[in-house]
C-alpha cells in the first residue's frame, strides 16, 4: 500500500490526501491495484484536474525513446517535461511546437489538457503535432492511437484530462528553429478596444502573440496593457557567441507562503503601473532568449506561494469573436471592479477549434487571471461570471478549473456526450477518474 501524501494542483486549492504510486516502467501503468486511478504528471494544472485518492505518477517515465532529425519527430515517455524536451531539442535546432506558459508540465499533462500556447491563432493546440500515442487502457491492453488509428480514442484523449487511459509515450513533431532567441515587439495599448484592434491587425503576420493586461485599471483605461508579439529570431540577426544556448536554472525562490496582506490592490497597482510604464515608447522591438519570453514566471521557483497558504484559483475562459470584445470587456470590468489582485492577467486570441472532444480552444478571445483564495464569497461571483460565459457560448479551461458546476460545464462543452460515449467504450467501469471528473459529472 502506497503512503498517503497531500497533493494539490499549482493553485494549492483544493488539497487531497492521496496514495501516490510511481510508475517506473510501462508495466506499472495498471488500474488493478486500486478501484480507480488518475495518471498524474507535474501537477501544473491549477485546480483539481490532477487530483484523485489514488494517483499513478508518471514522473519516473522520463525517457526520450527516439528522434528523427530529418522529420523532427521525437518519441518520448509521458513523464518527460517540456523542459526536458527543450534541453534536448534546442541545441539540435528544434523547439516544442506548442508550449504553455511554463516549461514544467509533462508531455502526458500537455496531452491531457490539449495545451495551447502564444501561437494558437497560427498553429493550433498541441494535438496538431501529436503523431502517435502509445496508451495503456483500463483493461491493461496496449494500443496506439492517432488521427488515423482509433481516432475516437485519440480525440477523447487530447484534452481528455487523463480520463481515457494512461499515455505511456507520444510521438511529437517538433518545430525547426533558427536560433534560441525571440524577436519581441511590444506594443503599448491605451484601453481594451485598442488591445483588441491591435490583436486583429497583427494576427495574420505574427507567430506568437499575447497581451499583458493591467488588471486594476477601470473606466476608460480598462484593458490597457502591453501586446507582446514574437518570432523566432533568424540566425543572421543574432550577435551572440552561441545560437542555441539553453536556459539556466531558476535562482529565485519563494521559500515561504506570503501573508494574505502582502498582495493587495495597492501593491499590485504599484507593480502594474511600473510594468506598464517601463516601456516609454508606443512600440519597441528587442531580441530576447526563449526563456524570459515564454516562461517569465518559471524564473521564480514556487511562485504559487505568493498568494498565501490558502492558495488561489486561476480563471481562464474563452468567448467567440462575435460580440467577444464587448463580453470580454464586461467580464474584465466586473473582475476589475472587485479589485482582484492578479499577478498576471493575460489576454490572447485563439484560432479555430480542433476535433478534441473536451479541448478548450475555440476561435475567440481568451482571458486568464489569478484569483487569490481568501474568502468563499468569491465563489458566487465566479459562478455568476460563468453564467455569462455560457450565454456567450464560451467556456472555462478545465486545466485551470476548480469550481465549475456540472450544468455550466455541460453547456460549455457540447461534445461532452460524445466524450462520455467514447469513455464508456474504452473505460466502461470508470477506472480512470479525478476529483474534477467527479465534480463535473463525467464519472
Amino acid at each position: 500500500m502506497a503512503k498517503k501524501t497531500t497533493t494539490s494542483g499549482w493553485g494549492l486549492y483544493p488539497r487531497v490526501d492521496a496514495s501516490v504510486r510511481r510508475a517506473h516502467y510501462r508495466r506499472d501503468l495498471r488500474t488493478d491495484d486500486e478501484t480507480s486511478v488518475l495518471p498524474q504528471g507535474s501537477c501544473r494544472s491549477y485546480g483539481d484536474a490532477c487530483l484523485h485518492d489514488h494517483v499513478v505518477s508518471t514522473l519516473p517515465l522520463k525517457h526520450l525513446l527516439d528522434f528523427d532529425p530529418e522529420q523532427g519527430l521525437l518519441r518520448a515517455e509521458a513523464g518527460v517535461t517540456i523542459e526536458d524536451l527543450i534541453r534536448f531539442a534546442v541545441p539540435r535546432g528544434f523547439f516544442p511546437p506548442v508550449t504553455p506558459g511554463t516549461k514544467f508540465p509533462t508531455l502526458g499533462g500537455c496531452i491531457a489538457a490539449d495545451v495551447h500556447g502564444k501561437n494558437h491563432h497560427a498553429d493550433g493546440s498541441i494535438a496538431g503535432f501529436v503523431e502517435d500515442l502509445e496508451m495503456v487502457l483500463a483493461d491493461g491492453s496496449q494500443v496506439h492511437c492517432s488521427r488515423h488509428r482509433l481516432p475516437d480514442l485519440f480525440w477523447a484523449t487530447l484534452g481528455g484530462m487523463g480520463l481515457t487511459g494512461f499515455v505511456y509515450a507520444a510521438t511529437l513533431r517538433l518545430k525547426k528553429i533558427s536560433s534560441a532567441y525571440i524577436q519581441q515587439r511590444s506594443i503599448k495599448t491605451a484601453n481594451f478596444a485598442e488591445t483588441c484592434r491591435i490583436f486583429a491587425e497583427t494576427q495574420q503576420q505574427c507567430t506568437y502573440s499575447v497581451a499583458w493586461i493591467d488588471s486594476l485599471k477601470k473606466g476608460r483605461q480598462l484593458g490597457r496593457g502591453l501586446i507582446l508579439l514574437g518570432e523566432h529570431a533568424p540566425a543572421d540577426q543574432i550577435k551572440k557567441k552561441e545560437l542555441f544556448p539553453l536556459h539556466a536554472g531558476s535562482r529565485l525562490d519563494v521559500p515561504f507562503f506570503f501573508p494574505d496582506f502582502a498582495l493587495n490592490t495597492w501593491s499590485m497597482r504599484a507593480f502594474n503601473t511600473l510594468y506598464y510604464h517601463h516601456q516609454w515608447s508606443h512600440s519597441s522591438t528587442t531580441t530576447i532568449h526563449y526563456n524570459p519570453y515564454f516562461y517569465p514566471l518559471d524564473m521564480v521557483h514556487r511562485w504559487n506561494r505568493i498568494y498565501g497558504r490558502k492558495g488561489f484559483l486561476q480563471y481562464q475562459v474563452v468567448v467567440p469573436f462575435a460580440d467577444g470584445e464587448e463580453i470580454m470587456a464586461d467580464v474584465l470590468g466586473r473582475i476589475v471592479h472587485r479589485g482582484i489582485p492578479s499577478l498576471l492577467t493575460v489576454l490572447k486570441t485563439l484560432g479555430p477549434a480542433n476535433e478534441g472532444l473536451l479541448s478548450f480552444p475555440i476561435a475567440g478571445y481568451t482571458l486568464a487571471l489569478d484569483i487569490p483564495f481568501r474568502n468563499t464569497d468569491i465563489m458566487p461571483f465566479l459562478r455568476e461570471l460563468n453564467k455569462s460565459i455560457v450565454d456567450a457560448k464560451g467556456r472555462v479551461y478545465l486545466a485551470k478549473d476548480a469550481i465549475l458546476e456540472k450544468e455550466d460545464f455541460a453547456a460549455m462543452y457540447p461534445k461532452l456526450e460524445e466524450f462520455k460515449r467514447v469513455k464508456r467504450l474504452y473505460d466502461p467501469e470508470h477506472r480512470f477518474r479525478s476529483r474534477q471528473s467527479d465534480r463535473l459529472g463525467i464519472t
Binding site: M1, A2, K3, R22, H24, Y25, R27, L61, K62, H63, L64, L65, D66, F67, E77, F88
Partner: protein
C-alpha cells in the same frame, strides 16, 4: 572506457550512469529489456554506446562466465558498479528460510562471487579501472529492524575491504559506498525514515569520491558521524534500544 553496472534498474545506478561522463555502458539486470527506454534515452542524449545484458545474482553457476559474457556481448570494460540489493521484510524473513536465503544470497553471496570473477577480469586486463560497491550504513551495526540485510551488506563491505587490499598494487581501485536512507523504490513504502537523500545527491558523491580515489564513502557525509556514534554505544546499552 566502459562501465558495467550491476543492478542497473535501481534509481541510484541510473543516477550514477547519468553522471559518468565519457563512458560507454553495459547495463546488467534481471529482465534487462525493461531498461530499453533508459538505454534509448542515454544513447540519444549522450551519444554513447549502451548495451543491455541479462544478470541474476542468484544464478551463482553463471557468475564465473559472466565477465566473459559481458566482454563478448558488450566489449571490454574497466569499471564495475555494483548497485543491486534486496531489502526484504526483516520480520517475515526471520521465520522464512526462502526469504532469509534470498536476502543473504543476493546481497552477499551473489555479490561477492560476481565481484571475485569481475575483479579477476579487471586485474588480468591490466588496465586502469575500478570497482564501486554499494553497501549500506545498515552493515555497520546489527539492529533488530534489519540485521539480515545489514549482515549481508556488512559482509559485502568486509569483502570489498579485502579486495581493495588485494588490488592495491594494481591499477584497479576499489570504492566502498555506504549510503544512508535514499528516496528510491526500495524505500518508498517504509515508514520512519529520516535524513532521506535523493539518488542524485548520492550519485554526485559517489562519482566524485571515485574520481578522487576515496576508499570508503558515507553518503550523505553526516552518516559517517552518525554511524560512529552508533558504533560507540556499548553493546550492553545498545541491545536494549528499539532501533
Amino acid at each position: 572506457m566502459r562501465a558495467l553496472v550491476l543492478g542497473a534498474k535501481s534509481a541510484i545506478a541510473q543516477a550514477i550512469v547519468e553522471r559518468l561522463d565519457g563512458y560507454d555502458f553495459a547495463l546488467a539486470a534481471r529482465d534487462s529489456e525493461e531498461l530499453a527506454p533508459f538505454a534509448a534515452d542515454l544513447r540519444l542524449k549522450r551519444s554513447c554506446a549502451v548495451e543491455l545484458i541479462e544478470f541474476d545474482a542468484l544464478d551463482t553457476d553463471a557468475l564465473e562466465r559472466f565477465p566473459h559474457k559481458v566482454h563478448d556481448q558488450c566489449g571490454p570494460f574497466d569499471l564495475v558498479v555494483l548497485v543491486f540489493g534486496y531489502l526484504g521484510d526483516q520480520r517475515a524473513a526471520e521465520r522464512d528460510t526462502t526469504a532469509m536465503a534470498r536476502s543473504l544470497n543476493v546481497n552477499f553471496t551473489g555479490a561477492a562471487i560476481a565481484l571475485s570473477h569481475l575483479a579477476n577480469y579487471l586485474e588480468e586486463s591490466g588496465k586502469a579501472g575500478g570497482i564501486i560497491g554499494i553497501c549500506s550504513v545498515a552493515g555497520d551495526r546489527g539492529r533488530q529492524s534489519n540485521y539480515l540485510y545489514g549482515a549481508a551488506k556488512g559482509g559485502l563491505a568486509i569483502f570489498l575491504q579485502g579486495l581493495r587490499n588485494r588490488l592495491a598494487s594494481t591499477p584497479v581501485h576499489v570504492l566502498t559506498v555506504k549510503p544512508g536512507f535514499v528516496d528510491t523504490p526500495m524505500t518508498q513504502d517504509l515508514d520512519g525514515l529520516f535524513l532521506v537523500a535523493s539518488p542524485a545527491k548520492v550519485a554526485d558523491d559517489i562519482v566524485r569520491a571515485y574520481k578522487k580515489k576515496k576508499d570508503v564513502l558515507y553518503t550523505p557525509f553526516f552518516w559517517r558521524w552518525i554511524m560512529l556514534i552508533i558504533k560507540l554505544v556499548p553493546e550492553r546499552v545498545f541491545k536494549k534500544l528499539k532501533l
